[in-house]
Symmetry: C2
Subunit: 168 residues, 2 copies
DNA sequence: TATTGTTATACTCTATAACTATA
DNA sequence: TATAGTTATAGAGTATAACAATA
């Protein structure tokens, strides 16, 4: 999924004079529009660090869970192992992440941040939080909390784990 | 962006025992997780019609705005013209959309639904609404309205049009 | 036999740019 | 000159499958 980093025509959530019909009432459509705006702003703000949303997630997850195996990272991020390899390769080339040999399992690596990676993540996190505040600035603090909680509940149901457990 | 229609490992919004750190507090992360779940469920539910979210949006927009030009559709959906061509081609091959010659401008087409497309859109819309209700079933009706309103406000600010207008 | 990380390969989505036929 | 639709091409992202090393 490549998205324009700096679109010639900025994204317009609602084009004047156009009927959106049933789309207006769909939560899915609202989420997708919000996601487009968020993704766009994220890419713009983090371009100097060459950090994309998946890269940022990987960086934080590795930082918070030192010694993580690549296969575990893949599962957490819901990507194939080969996708995790690409992600870790990119973060390694940026000098942020390294693969440590595992003492207990010589097939596996223990993922960890480098010193440079730790420093970078601090600056990157500040930028990401500024971005997040910027996008949610039209909501009160209380609303932001409510919104996160509602989205979490939505994602939680999701049918996924539940449906699978119930033999979907 | 290709996503698994039926993942071997269902998407887990939160893997037990894993620290998500700063990600937990980010609206962007919450929106992305919700979007993953929505997309997954949509694809699963609409697979029999070979309808993806972008195709559904295009179908509804064409239905609600008869005579639309392909370039206008591209702008509304925030894709390149070439992308709109692919979309309209797919919907044409499904027999849902046709390109009518424009009388006023012989370069342009007027997009319209076929009779089959109108019938299909009715059934598809019912399925999409069932999907949307399914995902948002953990929220009260009032919360769903609130959630949509908040997402709309978020997307509305967005910096996009505003930032562009202010000479970003 | 199963798992870890890797690589090769392919597919989807979507962008840019060039082209044609009109305007 | 500019615009509408199209096509060719390329790139990002990510999946599947096969592989060697290790469990």
């Amino acid at each position: 999924m490549k998205r324009k980093a700096t679109p010639a025509e900025p994204f317009q959530p609602h084009v004047p004079g156009i009927e959106y019909g049933i789309l207006e009432g769909l939560l899915g459509f609202a989420v997708r529009r919000a996601q487009l705006v968020l993704y766009d702003d994220f890419m713009r703000a983090l371009a100097p660090w060459q950090i994309t949303p998946p890269r940022f997630s990987a960086l934080v997850i590795i930082s918070e869970n030192p010694g993580l195996k690549l296969t575990e990272l893949a599962k957490i991020l819901a990507v194939a192992r080969s996708g995790a390899v690409v992600l870790v390769d990119a973060l390694s080339e940026l000098g942020y992440v390294l693969r440590r040999d595992s003492v207990s399992d010589r097939r596996a690596f223990q993922l960890a941040l480098t010193a440079k990676g730790r420093r970078a993540l601090q600056a990157i996190s500040r930028e990401v939080q500024a971005h997040d505040r910027r996008i949610s600035s039209m909501l009160s603090k209380q609303e932001q909390v409510q919104l996160r909680a509602m989205l979490r509940r939505m994602a939680g149901v999701s049918g996924r784990a539940a449906a699978r457990a119930s033999g979907e």
